[in-house]
């Protein structure tokens, strides 16, 4: 049982809050000798594995660090291109850590507005009258739950498919938003939420939800 992340999207599709509640687990570090038997490609300013899946290194995983030093997009910490660096036999043996690429804040913004439009298309393509947008999206490893308020703000939770009580949690987060963001005199509407009390209460709500799985209706 786990809740992976929380997103809050304003009515224009802008991301105003995001919180990751998990530690990435699938990271593999291995030492390689020349020549590298994994084919790498550059995609979205990251170096991804495109062929040569083995020992827990999967196609689609990104290069996260080289010799223990984190990389910076497609460049090494010293500013050289990773692909060029790995072509040079002088740099071997080299230890590379692979894993799922963490989302940058730019990507999160983009994904949030992407969901905003998917939500609208979902309701347009409805075969039934009066449908809302996407409320729950299911994949084999996570479920995305979305709650849109009457004022157009979307609360999105990524959770384990077996997690229960997510709908109650979404309403609880709406309550926390009203109490600690909206009632904060320094918070301006539609802008990113930077309120300490909101953070604290959201975190404790997530903890409660993960432990219990359900919420009382009145809480």
């Amino acid at each position: 049982m786990a809740i992976f992340s929380v997103y809050v999207v304003n009515k224009a599709g802008g991301l105003i809050y995001q919180y990751d509640n998990y530690v990435p687990r699938t990271e593999v570090e291995k030492t390689f000798s020349f020549p590298l038997d994994i084919v790498l490609k550059i995609h979205d300013e990251k170096v991804l594995v495109s062929f040569g899946q083995r020992d827990g290194i999967r196609v689609g995983h990104a290069v996260l660090s080289i010799n223990g030093v984190d990389v910076n997009g497609k460049y090494t910490a010293e500013g050289k291109e990773i692909v060029e660096y790995l072509k040079d036999p002088a740099n071997y043996p080299v230890s590379i850590r692979f894993g799922r690429a963490r989302l940058t804040s730019n990507e999160k913004l983009m994904l949030a507005s992407m969901f905003h439009s998917l939500f609208a298309i979902g309701s347009q393509l409805s075969p039934e009258v009066g449908s809302s947008g996407i409320e729950m999206l299911e994949t084999d490893v996570f479920k995305l739950h979305c709650f849109q308020t009457l004022t157009g703000i979307k609360f999105i939770i990524l959770a384990d498919p077996r997690q229960t009580g997510v709908d109650a949690l979404l309403r609880k987060i709406y309550e926390i938003y009203s109490d600690f963001a909206l009632k904060n005199p320094f918070y301006s509407l539609e802008m990113p939420i930077r309120c300490e009390l909101f953070d604290q209460n959201l975190k404790s709500a997530l903890e409660v939800a993960e432990k219990a799985g359900t919420f009382g209706t009145g809480s």
Partner: protein
């Protein structure tokens, strides 16, 4: 419980087949545009989901639901996409969609030398088999057909 409609797309985004049963509302655009919009939405959902996912995925996107309907999605390794819209009471349909692919599409289209791949399917046998397959589903009922 009921089935609203079913789309089959090929890997290039061409709608190979469309049929509807108890659909209550049209999208308000021409069918060609609707197919494009549907394919575009699925394409974006696929990339959205693969970026969003905290773990490595096997099957990827399975279904989504709104307040009124549920969309079931199944994709073969060759890129054929089968999409079925049902109401909310229908449980996971991956097996059903896989059966549509393996017992109807493969049998009537892939094994039929007269069917040209890459365009709209015109086989009557395929349409009628698909129709009877859907009508025989346990959750297909003519609630208000």
């Amino acid at each position: 419980m009921t089935v609203y409609n079913l789309y089959i797309f090929d890997r290039n985004g061409i709608c190979l087949h469309y049929s509807e049963w108890n659909r209550k509302k049209q999208a308000g655009i021409s069918k060609e545009e609707e197919f494009k919009l549907m394919y575009g939405m699925l394409f974006s959902i696929r990339s959205f989901v693969s970026k969003m996912s905290p773990l490595d995925m096997k099957d990827g996107f399975v279904s989504f639901q709104t307040s009124r309907y549920k969309l079931h999605y199944y994709e073969t390794p060759t890129g054929i996409k089968v999409v079925m819209n049902t109401d909310l009471g229908v449980p996971n349909c991956r097996d059903v969609l896989h059966q549509i692919y393996s017992t109807v599409y493969v049998e009537c289209i892939v094994k039929n030398p007269l069917c040209e791949l890459g365009g709209t399917l015109q086989s009557e046998l395929f349409s009628s088999r698909l129709d009877s397959f859907i009508r025989a589903l346990p959750f297909f009922s003519v609630r208000a057909a």
